[in-house]
Amino acid sequence: MQSNVESLIKLILVSLLVAAGLAAWLLPRTRFVTSRRIGDRAFVATHIIGAACGALGLALLLGVPERTLDWHLWELAVMPYVLANVYWIVVMRRARPAEATDEKQSSNIAAGAGLALAPLTFAMFAADRLQSNGLFLPSQCFPYFILALILSFSSSTLLVFRRG
């Protein structure tokens, strides 16, 4: 049962990654994507998706760690954010990367990344404390870092964007 579910999820993940790779490669050469700019809606949507994916993945990883790791649930949780970023790649390949985002968006991303360092440092400190008390598996560390990074970066970027 477990190996069947694991195999199915692996198949879904690999299929999505292959489809995303093909989309990033082929779509800019077609007329399906006409946008040459990341609009405000796409910008906000990407970071809402990122925050939601990070939060969901962390909830799974901390709530049911063994199952989340065995069944690759955290990779599945992150996939919508990966696909949203594939859209960015498609748009950036249609235009020059510097033209795909406007300067305020770039500024918000930079400020969001800087702001994200504080909660991320706190999250890693918490993980270190949990691990030293035997409440955190070593195999949880990498997924925990990636999920906390996505959650803190997306939330911080949204916050900076909303503040103007």
């Binding site: 700019r37 609009g39 405000d40 910008f43 033209e99 406007d102 300067e103 305020k104 968006q105 500024s107 964007f161 503040r163 103007g164």
Partner: protein, 76 residues
Amino acid sequence: MRLGNNLKRCRFDHDDISQAALADAIGVTRQTIISIEKGHYVPSTLLALKLARFFGRPVEDVFHIVEDAPGNTHRG
């Protein structure tokens, strides 16, 4: 000191062009125009010059320095 702007006045004088239309013409998002107008975002020199050129005015007509009131200066 901070950067002030007359962007709203310039838009009004320019056939009351909307923020969205101005954003499209300059090649930025509407949110960027809104943030500049509110004084929340300081544009790059390039964007400031693009805006001034769009309105056909010197950049000083669109942007200006607002001096701090006496006693409200920051150290450093």
